[in-house]
Symmetry: C2
Subunit: 728 residues, 2 copies
């Protein structure tokens, strides 16, 4: 009905967290915001007009009746009224469709998600944690297939990033003393705004309540004016920019009350999202469960730099649990209280952010969404990465290189290219120190979800820890030959200044020492020509007269052997659970069973990700076939291919359906002593292969050394002859 245009305006992740804007903070779920589309606006107006017409025609009918007009006259008026009502109903329907995303797609999305989630829960991809104790919101277990998918994703991450780039992987504890998170800013600023039900004490996220209210109004209340609708949309778009006071004012203005009890709410106040604990028995060392893994890398910078032979650039990496005590977790696996992060900190000379391997990814083309396009209401467009860096859209080559590598990583896992975009942070979203920041966003039934943040954080983190710890986290560039540099030397003569300015001596000395080169050279020439100079001392709030002899100003030549600097850090940070959830949605489809009486679920995981690579089953329950199946299982184990045997007496069709639902890519059916069939999950095609070859072929397929097409073209095709091996 209308294009679901995505506009993000100045939304999300600014406000209290802007100065520590990192993936783990800002993994807030971006709303699919629709600007007030023309059709919606005109429909709202048309609806208001129609309501007025209905009202007036209703009054007319009542007037006719009161005047005891003739029956045909009254009937005609009622007919006209009914006709108007029908028209109004049709406009309402149209408007309803418009606000809910066109042709019922919101409903479709919801139904699709329910189908995915049902399958995931039923097959134990995940389990609400501590279910027998009625669970805890925001905590989930990975069950056997989910755990295998996660292990595969992490193993590929380690291969694709750590091994391929020779990164220095570290593994730091989750328990973190307060001082570290004080330095990083988390103790003071890692907060969400919360309101409390004034009677029951139940807590809610203030922005969630406001968001729900606006969405509810926009989607369900067709009577609001176009102006009011615009206002709600503006609130939604700027939600994350609102201060506690502004949020509180809006909540009051709209009369928002506690959703469960309808009680009044407190004013919003900040709640720190870290799980607090205490280290050691004395209770005197406060600690937190880390909200991200990055800090463990930063505090080790000095050792890691040394380990790398005191050379830049290098990258350190860490995979581990992070914790976030959400106020009221929602959206299932996307917003949880404990999650696995995989983070890379690539340290680089701020004066040289080129990357030697950028050429390997510069040809890639994918959806990019620079801030200009967002501001002007356009959509993401397919862009060549090399051009984006060349044009300066992406700040530098290293940032660009990681964007490219993240694209390759996600698509190799099976993320749909058409539903993956790289969105640049808007100016007000970024921390003040950040040079540039792009999020890999994946579209799923919840909208576009930030799954990877790729930020150039400049020298912020190393600076912060240097300052707090007193340990210099710096790098040095040794010069091949010492460089001669001219250095300004300002030497205030304290005795003279003390005599002249007494108690103000210190302020004057400091002000002199703080002069810029230009100021100092101007003073030097004044002192030389006039013997004195007028000089503004800001800390005194007045101008003083500096006389010759009070300060020596000169330029001296010095030899420098190295340049010491704080490295910049470029940080790709991966929310593993979110990537996996999106992967589930992108991999899920339904197809009819052979007799068409039911819809079967399939996860089309690539072999790399599939929790189990292969199923083995005897065609029927016969000892000789079972022995063959056992024999093949041993061969697969020896080849290191994860698999399961299904000896149940179910029909082949049922057994195929069961493994399709787990996303197992290949199934081997044992039906002779010499050769077997291998069936590919998505095409349902089957080939015949001798038993001696089967393990190595499945291994090649699962390690993606060979494709199914290779096998299909090289081996005899199998077609069912007796119905027994029909799959459905």
């Amino acid at each position: 009905m209308r294009s679901l245009l995505v506009r993000l305006l100045s939304s999300t992740s600014s406000g209290p967290r802007s100065s520590i804007s990192r993936l783990s903070h800002i993994l807030s779920i971006r709303q699919v915001q629709a600007p007030m589309a023309a059709s919606e606006e005109s429909l709202r107006k048309a609806l208001a007009d129609m309501q007025a017409a209905v009202d007036s025609r209703g009054n007319a009918v009542r007037a006719l009746k009161a005047a005891k007009a003739s029956k045909p006259e009254i009937d005609a008026a009622i007919d006209a009224l009914n006709h108007l009502k029908l028209e109004k109903l049709s406009i309402e329907k149209e408007l309803q469709a418009a606000v809910s995303g066109g042709d019922g797609s919101a409903v479709t999305r919801e139904a699709f998600r329910q189908a995915v989630v049902n399958t995931l829960e039923r097959r134990l991809f995940y389990i609400p944690s501590f279910k027998i104790y009625r669970g805890v919101a925001g905590l989930y277990d990975y069950g056997p297939p989910g755990c295998a998918v996660k292990a595969n994703v992490l193993s590929f991450w380690r291969q694709h990033f750590v091994l391929e780039e020779n990164m220095l992987e570290v593994d730091c504890p989750c328990v973190t003393p307060e001082v570290v998170l004080k330095a990083s800013g988390h103790v003071d600023k890692f907060t969400d705004l919360m309101v409390k039900d004034l009677k029951t004490g139940t807590c809610y996220r203030a922005d969630h309540l406001l968001k729900d209210f606006c969405n509810e109004k926009l989607q369900k209340d067709l009577t609001i004016s176009a102006e009011k609708a615009s206002e709600f949309k503006l609130v939604l778009a700027t939600l994350d920019d609102l201060s506690a006071e502004e949020l509180g004012a809006k909540i009051k203005e709209y009369g928002i009350v506690s959703p469960d009890t309808k009680n009044p709410l407190s004013d919003p106040y900040p709640f720190n999202l870290m799980f607090q604990t205490s280290i050691g028995p004395s209770g005197t060392i406060p600690g937190f469960m880390r909200p991200e893994t990055a800090q463990g890398i930063f505090v080790n910078f000095k050792d890691l730099y040394y380990y790398n032979g005191n050379r830049l650039p290098f990258a350190a990496a860490q995979i581990g649990q992070a914790f976030r005590n959400e106020i009221s977790p929602r959206q299932g696996l996307l917003r949880v209280r404990e999650f696995t992060l995989a983070e890379i900190e690539h340290f680089v000379d701020p004066e040289d952010k080129s990357h030697p391997k950028f050429g390997e990814v510069s040809h890639l083309e994918f959806l990019m969404f620079p801030r200009e396009q967002q501001m002007s209401g356009q959509s993401a467009t397919k862009t060549c990465l090399g051009e984006a860096v060349a044009k300066g859209t992406v700040n530098n080559e290293t940032l660009g290189y990681f964007i490219g590598r993240v694209y390759l990583f996600l698509t190799r896992l099976g993320i749909d290219k058409g539903r993956l975009r790289f969105r640049q942070h808007l100016a007000n979203e970024m921390a003040h120190y950040a040079a540039d920041c792009w999020d890999a966003e994946i579209e799923c039934s919840y909208g576009w979800i930030e799954c990877v943040g790729i930020a150039d954080r400049s020298a912020y983190d190393l600076h912060a820890h240097t300052e707090k710890s007193g340990v210099a986290l710096v790098a040095a560039e040794k010069f091949a030959q010492p460089r001669e540099v001219e250095k300004l030397v300002i030497t205030p003569i304290k005795k003279e200044i003390g005599l002249a300015f007494k108690g103000s001596q210190k302020m004057v000395v400091e002000a002199l020492e703080a002069m810029t080169e230009e100021e100092a050279m101007k003073m030097k020439s004044s002192l030389e020509s006039k013997g004195e100079d007028e000089f503004l001392v800001c800390t005194l709030g007045k101008t003083v007269t500096i006389k010759d002899g009070m300060v020596k100003i000169s330029k001296e030549k010095k030899k420098e052997h190295q340049r010491v600097f704080t490295p910049s850090v470029i940080e790709p940070s991966f929310g593993i659970g979110r990537i996996i959830y999106c992967l589930y949605e992108h991999s899920f489809y339904k197809r009819p069973s052979k007799d068409g009486d039911e819809q079967l679920n399939v996860f089309s995981f690539p072999p790399l990700v599939a929790p189990i690579k292969c199923t083995v089953f005897p065609l029927i329950q016969k000892p000789e076939y079972e022995a063959v199946a056992q024999h093949i299982s041993k061969l697969l184990t020896a080849a290191g291919v994860s698999h399961i045997i299904d000896m149940s007496g179910n029909t082949i069709g049922k057994r195929y359906a069961r493994t399709d639902e787990l996303g197992v890519p290949f199934a081997i059916t044992a039906d002779s002593q010499t050769d077997v069939t291998i069936r590919e999950r998505d095409s349902k095609d089957q080939v015949r292969i001798t038993i001696s070859e089967v393990a190595s072929i499945v291994k090649d397929l699962t390690e993606e050394q060979k494709t199914w097409a290779d096998i299909w073209s090289a081996y005899p095709h199998h077609t069912s002859t007796n119905g027994e091996d029909n799959e459905e």
Copy 2:
């Protein structure tokens, strides 16, 4: 000097934790306890006698001097005294050697550990966490090589246990609500006894102070009597059995004070070792960081059983972080506040603990240390696993199977078979519900360390969660055909009993219902013959008369379709950090450099474990060699072999030494355009191989498809011709 006989008597891990005796609780470091060896005892006596002789001879000399005896007479007496003093010194030395473990081995052990730890810290195998903030006791980071070793160990664990046995792996959160750990017993019983310095408030583990005091006395104070020495040894042996009162009494008796300030100490009191936190914003849901991963599996039993097709046996597994807020962590990487556990819960029918694959491990022979041998003061002896199970030394086949699999796992990693033993828990070490329990203990410089606990925990955990949650965690054995069973039915007639016993009605009813079959049938016949029966009601403390009509007793035939029961669980639980630390010690050795002027460090990791599989370097800094090295690096990356290139201008010898210290098993030197040398770390042997073959050969070697002996016999040997490629 004397055999370092190991006796464990009734030591360790009983007391407050006995009812939840699990690896994560009981990973206490077992002391190498020496019983009072004959030589030590006689030496202490000889020393006391000698001291008495010296004293008396000294008095004699003084008497002679006082009596102004002749000089030759006095000189002779002094000579005799000096002779006695020398003899005493020699006995002291002998005793010193005896108590410190023979010929200075304590010193040697300490020096060896220091050499290992220095290398580990210098090469960043581990780093004290948050070092720039002066660290936190008991928290360590794994640096790059340590992290790679850990990833390799975990990956092999997953291969060896989860994949090979088709276990159901799960991944549960660390944050755990209180109710779960209340049910498991941790909230009430997961404690250590603590004392406080009464002035400074510093906390100490009470048993540690007592242990240190006794050890100090035994090792440094040669004047204590043999009786006193025996007493201290008994205290050490029974340390973990002491109650808070007994510990406090000993501390008072020995006058033990605060080790740092010499201030008096408080009485011992229990301190819960879990890190506490609060879940959600309201502060009303108390939670803890899990002290073990096992509970996450137990609470999911129902879903996992269903996932396994409602069939037993099956095993679930989990790898993850666990937390333990140690009072005062010591012993480096062995006792830490956060650690990685890998745990298996194998659920089995308590009536059938056979294992179909036991035959695959029954032939294994290794050091076993059953409780009888410990009690009688013998050492561990090499035992055939199959015999140990057949004789009943090991309780059942499944427990035996896991002992065998653990042995294979540890030795494949590189743990020295001669320093690995399986020690059975003594009766008082085990929880009351446990059927049997064996620890895999590895000997290192700290003594014998529990690294894996393998326990048959019967139905304890599932029972506990069933009771607390109200959800039945049970399994059912479906009968092929319904079985007819005779069931005793006891129906007290409450009205009659109420009339007869009034206020005691409830107690009488309960006692009747609790009768055994034998008791009930006796009463039935009494009632039938005499019309009444005398019946002891324990809760009333007296005998009452039950009359005919007060209770109906009958045997009824029922058809049962299944047997419902709570499964037993057999739990192998691995302390990954401890295994890795022991592996470091077992793999470490020193060898002289070629010119003999320094000792070089080597870690002899098997390829499976080695953090990096291969180093590549050009023989000298020449563009054509460097190009070859780069080419080989690409081939290795494509083959998935983790490696590093060393392009530094260091000598080959230095470069070899650097990678030996990281335990890199193979080094490739590029010195021609067609072929290269591969050098094996431990033998330092080299062969020549063409560039096209090199990646696949290194891959085969590192995946242990081929041994170095295979390569050595198949390829031309390389001997240095020009000194340049001499390695040292």
